[in-house]
C-alpha cells in the first residue's frame, strides 16, 4: 500500500539500495579533499533545502521500516544491545518524550501523539503500532521507555549521565554501530569510550569536545558528522558479530567495488535532557554504495582524494586497509583532476 517505505534487507541477500532522492540527500561529510579529526560540532538546526537530512531534529527516511525490522532481529538475537543502568529511568522518559514529540511534529502523516496530562496515546502508522500509556509509569508500556521508542526510531542512541565533570554512557541501544560494543562500553565515561580512537586524543579534540558538551543547554542541540566504510549494506557491524561480517572485507574485487563498498556516514546529534539533566546522543547511519556516490561528479572526485590521502592509522582504525586500494583504483576513473569547491557539496 505504501510506496515510500522500501522493503529491503541489511543482511543475507542485502537488497538495500538508495533511491535517487535518497542519494541526493546523503550527508556527504567532507568539506575539503582530505580528512582529519576536528571538533566539528555545529548547532543542530534546520538547514538545507526541504527534504534535507537536516530538515528535522530526527530524520525518518525511506529505509525506516526495513531498518526497524533489522533492529528487531538484532535485539532478538542479542538483547544486550539495549541496556539501561538502574539510575537512568528519569533520563529514559526524557528520551521517550523528545523522540516522540520530534517524530510526531516532523512527520504527522506517519506518527501521532495525543497527550492529556500524563495519559499519552501514540500511533505509529508505518510500523502499525498503537499504544496508550501513562507517562512516568513504565508498567504501562510493553518495554522500558528508551527501548520502546528507539525500537521505532532510526539510529543508535546513547544516553549520557552528567556527573563528576564528565559524561557517562549509562544507557543506550546499538544495533547499527560501526564496531563498538554497547555492552562493553556501558558505564564508561566520555574519554574512556573514545579510548580506542587513534590520534584524536593527542590533538586535544576530546578535551575540547567534553568541555563544550558539559555546558550544553536545553533547546540548543548540536550535531556533527562521522564516517567510515562498510562492505555490503550491513547495519549491524558490531564486534559481537565480527565473525559474520569481518570476512566481507576480503570479498572486494575490482568488479564489485561499485556495489559492495559503501560509504557509511553517521549524523551524530546531542540534546540536553530536561528532567534528568542527562544528554541524548544519537548516531544515525546512512549508507551509500560507491556506484551511487559517483553519480555526483564532485563527490566522486573528492572521495577519491580523501581516501587516497587518508593517514594509515585512521585507515587501520576504520578497518579499511584490505579494500582501500581496490576502492581508490575504482574511484580513480571518476576523478578527472578538476578542482572541487570547498564546502560540504550538498545539493
Amino acid at each position: 500500500m505504501n510506496t515510500f517505505f522500501k522493503d529491503e534487507t541489511f543482511r543475507d541477500d542485502f537488497t538495500f539500495q538508495n533511491s535517487p532522492e535518497a542519494v541526493a540527500r546523503f550527508p556527504f561529510p567532507y568539506w575539503e579533499d582530505k580528512y582529519m579529526y576536528s571538533v566539528n560540532m555545529e548547532p543542530h538546526v534546520k538547514a538545507g533545502a526541504p527534504g534535507s537530512v537536516y530538515e528535522f531534529p530526527i530524520d525518518i527516511d525511506e529505509h525506516y521500516v526495513s531498518d526497524m525490522r533489522d533492529r528487531a532481529l538484532v535485539l532478538a538475537e542479542d538483547p544486550l544491545r539495549c541496556q539501561a543502568l538502574p539510575h537512568m529511568m528519569s533520563a529514559q522518559w526524557d528520551v521517550l518524550e523528545l523522540l516522540m514529540i520530534s517524530m510526531a511534529e516532523a512527520y504527522p502523516k506517519h506518527f501521532t501523539l495525543n497527550r492529556h496530562g500524563d495519559e499519552w496515546h501514540w500511533i505509529n502508522r508505518p510500523l502499525r503500532i498503537e499504544d496508550k500509556f501513562r507517562f512516568g509509569d513504565a508498567t504501562t508500556l510493553p518495554y522500558e521507555p528508551m527501548e520502546y521508542i528507539t525500537r521505532q526510531c532510526q539510529g543508535d542512541f546513547s544516553v549520557l549521565d552528567q556527573r563528576e565533570n564528565n559524561l557517562w554512557m549509562d544507557a543506550g541501544i546499538a544495533t547499527s554501530q560501526a564496531d563498538w560494543s554497547l555492552d562493553f562500553d556501558i558505564g564508561m565515561n566520555f574519554m574512556e569510550w573514545h579510548g580506542p580512537v587513534p590520534l584524536a586524543h593527542e590533538i586535544g579534540v576530546f578535551d575540547r569536545a567534553l568541555k563544550f558538551l558539559l555546558n550544553l543547554q536545553q533547546g540548543k542541540p548540536v550535531r556533527r558528522l562521522n564516517w567510515t566504510m562498510t562492505i555490503n549494506p550491513r547495519l549491524d557491524t558490531s564486534p559481537e558479530n565480527y565473525d559474520k561480517w569481518g570476512i566481507d572485507r576480503c570479498a572486494v574485487t575490482p568488479e564489485n567495488v561499485g556495489d559492495k563498498v559503501h560509504l557509511r556516514v553517521e549524523l551524530q546529534a546531542l540534546w540536553r535532557l530536561p528532567r534528568s539533566n542527562a544528554m541524548l546522543f544519537s548516531i544515525r547511519a546512512y549508507l551509500l554504495k560507491m556506484r551511487e556516490l559517483v553519480t555526483n561528479p564532485d563527490w566522486a572526485r573528492r572521495f577519491h582524494r580523501v581516501l587516497k590521502s587518508l593517514p594509515p592509522e585512521l585507515a587501520d582504525y576504520k578497518g579499511l586497509t584490505r579494500y582501500r586500494d581496490a576502492t581508490v583504483d575504482w574511484l580513480a576513473k571518476y576523478d578527472d583532476g578538476k578542482p572541487t569547491p570547498t564546502g560540504f557539496l550538498l545539493k
Binding site: Q217, Q218, G219, K220
Partner: protein, 317 residues
C-alpha cells in the same frame, strides 16, 4: 554566547520572611516554560532605565499555572538586582529569563541524599525534595535558619511528615549536628550543601574530618560577585571599560556593549573565563572554577565574579 531568553510575566509575589520574597513567573505569551532538573537556576535580567542586572536564582519548583517559582533575598550587600526585585517588581511586571542551567544536580548513582541548607540556600533544596520524592529516593534535609520567622518556608517544611526533614533555629540555640549526621551513613550517601559561604566552608571541613571523600560532597555557592576597588578593563581594540565598586566586571562589559560569554554568573561553570593579556595590578579571583595554579599564573580570569585590585587589566576580548 548567551543563553536562550524567554520573556515572562510575574504572576504572583509573596512575602515569605524578613527580606525574602517569592515570585511566580509564567510565560508572557502563554508559552509553557521548559522542564528543569532539580538544582537548576535561571538567570533573570532586570532593567531599570539604563541599569541592567543579571542574577542567578534557583528554581524552587513549578507553580500551579506551570510557571517557575523563585525566591529573592534582598540584603544590604545587594548590588542592586535583588533590591530591584523587591522594590520595583510587582504582579504584571515583565522580565527576561534564561533557560534552566544545572550546576548543582542530584547525583543519580547516589544511594542516599543528605541536603544541608542555610537561609536562602533552601531554594534549590525544595526542588531537590520534589525530585527525590518523585523518584522514591532516600533523603534527609537539615535546614538552618536564624529564627522561625526569618526562615523561608519554615512552616511548609515543618508540616512535612516524616523524620527526614529537620529545621534548626539558631536563635533557640539549635545548630545542625553535622558531624553526628555524617558519622553513620551508608556507603553511597551524597551530601549537598547550599547557603552562605561560611556555612559551606564549615560543612566541607566537617565532611572531610569525618572521612568523607570529596566525590560525595557537593555544594552550590551562592556567590554573587563581591564588590571591590574600581578598576579598568582594556579590550583588544583599545576601548577602556570602567568597572565600578559595586559592579561586576561582566556587568561593566555588558553595559559597554560587549557580548562577553557567561553562563552561571556565579563563578562556578568557567564559561566566562577570559585570557588576561596584561595587568598592572593584582588579580582578585573570586571564582570556584580555576585551579590554584591557574589563579597563581594570572593568565585567566572569571569575569562574572573576579576583579583586579585597582589599576587596569587587558583582556583578550
Amino acid at each position: 554566547m548567551t543563553a536562550n531568553m524567554q520573556r515572562v510575566r510575574v504572576a504572583r509575589v509573596d512575602d515569605v520572611a524578613a527580606g525574602i520574597k517569592r515570585f511566580e513567573l509564567v510565560g508572557l505569551a502563554g508559552q509553557s516554560l521548559p522542564m528543569f532538573s532539580a538544582g537548576s537556576h535561571i538567570v533573570v535580567t532586570m532593567r531599570d532605565k539604563d541599569q541592567v542586572w543579571r542574577n542567578p536564582y534557583s528554581i524552587m519548583g513549578v507553580s500551579e499555572d506551570n510557571g517557575y517559582v523563585i525566591s529573592v533575598h534582598s540584603s544590604p550587600e545587594s548590588r542592586g538586582g535583588s533590591r530591584y526585585m523587591h522594590t520595583k517588581v510587582h504582579v504584571g511586571s515583565e522580565l527576561d529569563i534564561s533557560e534552566p542551567v544545572n550546576l548543582f544536580p542530584i547525583v543519580h548513582t547516589g544511594r542516599k541524599h543528605i541536603l544541608i541548607a542555610g537561609g536562602i540556600g533552601i531554594t534549590p533544596m525544595l526542588a531537590m525534595l520534589d525530585e527525590l520524592k518523585r523518584d522514591a529516593s532516600i533523603f534527609e534535609l537539615h535546614y538552618a535558619v536564624r529564627s522561625p520567622e526569618a526562615g523561608a518556608y519554615f512552616s511548609d517544611l515543618m508540616s512535612e511528615t516524616g523524620r527526614s526533614i529537620r529545621v534548626y533555629s539558631s536563635d533557640r540555640g539549635e545548630r545542625i549536628p553535622l558531624a553526628a549526621i555524617l558519622s553513620n551513613q551508608p556507603l553511597g550517601t551524597h551530601v549537598y550543601v547550599c547557603g552562605p559561604q561560611r556555612m559551606i566552608d564549615w560543612a566541607l571541613e566537617v565532611a572531610d574530618r569525618a572521612g568523607w571523600p570529596e566525590e560525595n560532597v557537593h555544594c552550590e555557592r551562592f556567590s554573587s560577585a563581591p564588590p571591590g576597588k574600581p578598576f579598568d578593563v582594556e579590550l583588544r581594540n583599545g576601548t577602556v571599560v570602567h568597572v565600578g565598586e559595586h559592579q561586576s566586571m561582566l556587568e561593566a562589559l555588558e553595559h559597554a556593549g560587549v557580548d562577553a560569554p557567561y553562563l552561571c554568573r556565579g563563578g562556578a561553570c568557567g564559561q566566562c573565563v577570559t585570557r588576561v593579556i596584561a595587568s598592572d595590578s593584582k588579580l582578585v579571583h573570586n571564582d570556584h572554577y580555576l585551579t590554584d595554579e591557574e589563579k597563581q599564573a594570572g593568565e585567566q580570569i572569571a569575569t562574572c565574579v573576579s576583579r583586579a585590585d585597582g589599576g587596569c587589566i587587558k583582556l583578550d576580548l
